[in-house]
């Protein structure tokens, strides 16, 4: 369980505090393949390790892409890595999104803030195998227009067949011509068939609670709603005990869970 040395091949700024890093292994072998929704433990020399969701294209096996928000010392060290520098990678770990169960179904993807990053691989997979999936509805909310990720791709995705992309911000500036309001306000514009939809949600926990309520109002059962959860992680492999949430280890039983599993836990304060 040692980190493997990867090199930063590209580093780009998405928003004022969020960066996307593209990593490839030093020795040119195929990178680890991954399931959408899985994460890696990324290590910067002498600073420490962080669990970061993989946000790249699962069909491109020669690289691993991560979108990281700089919120503290460790994330700052990671986003400051220049092209050519090295990062240690362990993984991929975790149970990912139900992309197999979703075949033949409509997908409702609801992302809040940086939560779009772990969901992007699902979108890539669906677009790569478009015939295997039904309608794709993406509901994406961010704080303000500057914080929107993957802007060009959002536009490109909205133009693909049988795909609906709805974007909103909590606070719009003067030049923002789009929707303003929390992400749940987008549901009224979405065309949803609950009996043949799977929903995948990722964002701050409060946002996920509001969204699951709305999805239930829309008629989805709890087995059809999936969330990606987050807790403190030190090892990523179920041995250090930190990521426990009720009886679950987020790192090995998750981070993706059904709402049926999560509903009794989400309402418990300080669980």
């Amino acid at each position: 369980m040692l980190p493997q040395a990867f090199q930063v091949r590209a580093a780009g700024k998405e928003t004022p505090d969020t960066f996307t890093l593209t990593l490839a292994p030093h020795n040119g072998d195929h990178a680890n393949s991954f399931e959408p929704g899985q994460f890696s433990m990324l290590w910067t020399f002498g600073v420490g390790e962080l669990p970061i969701s993989i946000s790249g294209d699962p069909t491109k096996e020669d690289r691993l892409v991560y979108t990281v928000r700089s919120v503290g010392k460790a994330t700052h060290a990671l986003v400051s890595q220049q092209v050519g520098s090295s990062v240690g990678v362990r993984g991929p770990y975790g149970v990912g999104w139900p992309v197999e169960a979703a075949r033949g179904q409509d997908l409702i993807i609801v992302a809040g803030g940086i939560g779009l990053a772990p969901l992007r691989p699902v979108i890539y997979k669906v677009l790569a195998e478009r015939e295997s999936y039904g309608r794709l509805v993406l509901l994406y909310g961010a704080r303000n227009p500057r914080d929107l990720l993957y802007r060009k791709e959002l536009v490109a995705w909205s133009r693909t067949r049988d795909t609906q992309v709805l974007v909103t911000v909590d606070y719009g500036g003067l030049s923002w011509r789009g929707h303003v309001g929390v992400v749940t306000t987008l549901f009224k514009f979405a065309r949803i068939h609950p009996e043949r939809s799977l929903a995948m949600i990722c964002g701050p926990e409060i946002m996920m609670r509001f969204v699951t309520r709305e999805l239930e109002t829309q008629g989805l059962t709890r087995d059809r709603i999936y969330l990606s959860m987050e807790r403190n992680m030190k090892c990523g492999v179920g041995l250090c005990g930190h990521c426990q949430y009720g009886p679950y280890f987020i790192c090995k039983d998750g981070p993706v869970f059904t709402y049926r599993q999560m509903q009794p836990l989400l309402e418990k304060y300080e669980l």
Partner: protein, 402 residues
């Protein structure tokens, strides 16, 4: 609310074999060959183990407690010592005989050997970004002398957690491999013991190489010995042993019966559901008024396994190491994610520990995480007693917030 039943992976032997103290149990024991050795043969035991290249670890007196350390000879054992254990209290006392194992468990458990409190995971050089796996299995396998049945149960629980789940821990595996275990069956229970209700003692039936029961009366200082493995039998063959007489076997059994008299107990029926249901019980608030979040309980508990990692580099910044240390869910930073910790109150942290130990552990690993050794009761400064707390929760059940 049953969340998910966790099935033990293929090949794992579940610890909790349903073995109540029945006539059948007696009979099974009686069928195994019981031998007897005089107390001076323990020196032979230690020498035989040393000759087989084991590092022999056992109890010894240090710093006013029974602690674990390397045994150079049988003289290192705590002859003539006993302990007094109560909630929040531990004292050693001298006896007027030469009993070698007349005390309960001390503050340390055997987990410090298989799962060290501090260990380097790997090191790396900035130059060339090389990462080196520096940990090696210790030069000698461990021989543990004086393992109580509850402690053996704890070792097997840690085997399940650390070796038999999705990602085994190679450090634990390397240190646990080939360990030679000499159990000492209990003939007396400390006031804080409750292994009976946890079905982890006071006798061990399997999983050891040798099992000893100390006898002091009606004859010389001696031990009834039972082998649990081929290795055990080979070592036993190097000691002067004779078949145990009926009186000696009866004396051993009388001791085991006496050990069953325990002041404390936990009723495990439906305990998992009870704890899950009582998340909002006012009892947690009451406990937290006493709990100091000192983490003693997690440090002395033989099954607690939480760790943290620490990345350190030298002054030049060229060389970095990653170390693993024992950690505790009682610390504020344990549950920290960006923006703050999840469990900020000590109430939430105590509840997490107890619910994990007695409830979530069952969903995760198929058994309770508690072996009833009573250390957490003895070593809790305000003397919080989990058996008392479970009892109180049961009384409140139905009256607490659900």
């Amino acid at each position: 609310m049953v969340l998910r039943a966790n099935e033990a992976p293929q090949g794992a032997s579940l610890l909790r074999v349903d073995r109540s103290w029945s006539w059948e149990g007696w009979h099974r024991l009686a069928e195994k060959q019981q031998l007897v050795v005089e107390a001076d043969q323990l020196q032979k035991l230690i020498e035989a183990l040393g000759a087989r290249d084991f590092e022999v670890i056992g109890p010894t007196v240090r710093d006013g407690a029974i602690t674990l350390g390397q045994l150079q000879s049988a003289k290192d054992l705590p002859a003539g010592w006993t302990d007094e254990q109560q909630p929040g209290r531990y004292r050693l006392q001298k006896r007027d005989d030469g009993a070698l194992f007349a005390y309960g468990v001390g503050p340390q458990s055997w987990k410090q050997y298989f799962y060290p409190p501090h260990i380097e995971l790997w090191s790396s050089e900035a130059q060339g970004f090389r990462i080196l796996n520096n940990h090696r299995a210790p030069a000698h396998a461990y021989a543990l002398i004086g393992v109580r049945p509850c402690e053996l149960a704890a070792i097997r629980i840690q085997d399940r957690v650390l070796l038999q789940d999705k990602y085994p821990d190679p450090i634990y595996a390397g240190r646990r491999a080939n360990a030679f275990i000499v159990v000492v069956q209990c003939t007396h229970a400390a006031p804080t013991c409750f292994c009976g209700s946890m079905q982890t003692g006071p006798q061990a039936y399997e999983g050891f190489d040798l099992a000893l029961t100390e006898l002091l009366n009606s004859g010389p200082h001696r031990f009834v010995v039972e082998s649990g493995s081929e290795r055990g039998s080979e070592v036993l063959a190097e000691m002067q042993a004779a078949p145990a007489s009926e009186q000696d076997v009866a004396a051993a059994e009388a001791g085991w019966t006496q050990a069953r008299e325990q002041a404390r107990s936990i009723d495990n029926n439906g305990l998992k559901e009870l704890l899950y249901k009582n998340f909002d019980s006012p009892r947690w608030e009451a406990i937290s008024a006493r709990c100091l979040s000192c983490a003693n309980c997690t440090m002395v508990c033989p099954t607690c396994f939480c760790t943290t990692v620490d990345d350190v580099s030298d002054l030049t910044g060229e060389h970095a190491e990653r170390w693993r240390h024992w950690d505790s869910c009682f610390t504020l930073s344990f549950s920290y994610i960006h923006g703050g910790s999840i469990r900020t109150s000590s109430k939430a942290r105590y509840r997490q520990w107890m619910t994990h130990k007695l409830a979530a552990w069952i969903d995760q690993f198929g058994t309770s995480g508690c072996v009833g050794c009573g250390r957490c009761i003895t070593w809790c400064p305000p003397g919080i007693d989990i058996t008392e707390e479970i009892h109180a929760l049961r009384e409140e059940n139905g009256h607490g917030n659900t």
